[in-house]
Symmetry: C2
């Protein structure tokens, strides 16, 4: 089929009722036809989970004025798969995921449902972006984030992007006065260091809540964590060939006796 | 603390009662102290999911003769985090995940709970391997797989591996006669193409089962998919800096007007 207007597939991992997805829709709704397919409940921390052991539900809902929207019982990745195979039956022009309530910079990209949804679309050949605001609060201010979303979406629509383009965009807590701009970055070597808060249930059995603190082990420059601390929005282009070619060469050399050439 | 013997942390995503984890333990149990921490139920397709919205359970169980074992309500990644923070309180020498019932080659690395558990340990600085056998059956024959596990584990114990070493090892269905050896590979550009099987429940509502077929879009050589088809076990070294540096340079050039230097 031919598509007259750009089609923007929108999803998230905080669920279809989160303020962040509403902010994302508002930021781009005049740039093309919008189709929303999002989880019916929060899915934070789902990583690249897919639902294979149980069936999926998918219902059309009316919650965004004049916008086609669907909710699913599945994960963010399931939503993208359902959008492609059941709802659209063609490739959208872009896939935008978010705006996540909370950071997905540094190594958090691999835990993030927001980024996994975008990655799923990028694998399918749809240029995609995951957007995250460094503010976990339900009533977070998305003003700056919406400007960043719109700027990047317009840029991606104005030029032909490579099919597998995938960007991880994080936006600092900032005002129009303190916000510095958009910066291309590399993924920082930084992560959450978990701790577990042990408790005892009313029947005397132990259980644990995951907590933790953020550790930046990166001593270099040019990282997303550094840019965000300076009040820039960070843009990290992401790839999904995870092969470590340097290590491959090293093992070819070191493990000659067990490796078949 | 000082550790006299190597400590091998063992986990999986098929659950602690799966034959694959029992085969893995049998393959390496004389190589060091074994500590098993695995999900109490199957977690296939969980990707790098973590449990942040609900509490985790963790119980010691006696199901492997003479081996310390724990089961958790969490995901494979949760199990590795719990092992480190609650059970061990020190870094194990290696983390071995699997043996998965089914393939985790090519781009499936990002959907795989088996590989995510190994990646979690590698991020923490523990050299790690995920093992998968290309046989989904409960009664799969793990003979060749166990030989491969043991060979690689011995090699990793015999030399000091870089802390963040992470290997994705897949093993073909083969006999001693047809098995060709172990080959270092790159991740193939190949993936499952999902389809959804639509059904109607007894109350007249639609639901979907995810199905699909495997597509190899990779026209090059040296891939894991190619090696497996030739009856080699494939070893792909994996990294978790997902930054696409080539795309970063391209965007720095193309998007000058919205990017702050």
């Amino acid at each position: 089929m031919t598509i007259d207007r750009p089609v923007l597939l929108i999803t998230n991992d905080d669920g279809i009722t989160a303020p962040g997805i509403r902010a994302l829709i508002e930021a781009v709704k005049d740039l093309g036809k919008i189709v929303v397919v999002a989880p019916d409940s929060p899915q934070s921390g789902m990583g690249h989970a897919v639902t294979i052991g149980e069936p999926l539900r998918l219902y059309q809902v009316q919650i965004f004025d004049g916008i086609e929207a669907w909710e699913s019982s599945g994960t963010p990745v399931d939503c993208v798969k359902l959008a492609r195979d059941i709802i659209l039956n063609y490739k959208p022009t872009l896939c935008l995921s978010g705006i996540n309530h909370g950071a997905n910079h540094s190594i958090n990209v691999i835990y993030s449902g927001t980024m996994s949804a975008a990655m799923e679309a990028a694998i399918e050949g749809v240029p995609s972006v995951g957007f995250s605001l460094l503010d976990y609060r339900y009533d977070a201010d998305f003003t700056i984030a919406k400007d960043v979303v719109r700027t990047i979406a317009q840029k991606m629509l104005a030029q032909k992007m490579p099919d597998h383009t995938l960007l991880n965009v994080n936006i600092p807590i900032a005002t129009k006065e303190t916000f510095k701009g958009i910066k291309l970055c590399r993924q920082a070597n930084a992560k959450w260091q978990e701790e577990f808060d042990k408790r005892v249930d009313p029947r005397g059995k132990d259980y644990y809540w995951m907590t933790g603190k953020f550790l930046n082990m990166d001593e270099g420059t040019g990282t997303d964590v550094e840019a965000l601390a300076e009040k820039y929005a960070s843009v990290v282009p992401v790839k999904f060939d995870l092969t470590d070619y340097t290590m491959k060469d090293k093992l070819q050399n070191d493990w000659g006796d067990i490796i078949t050439k």
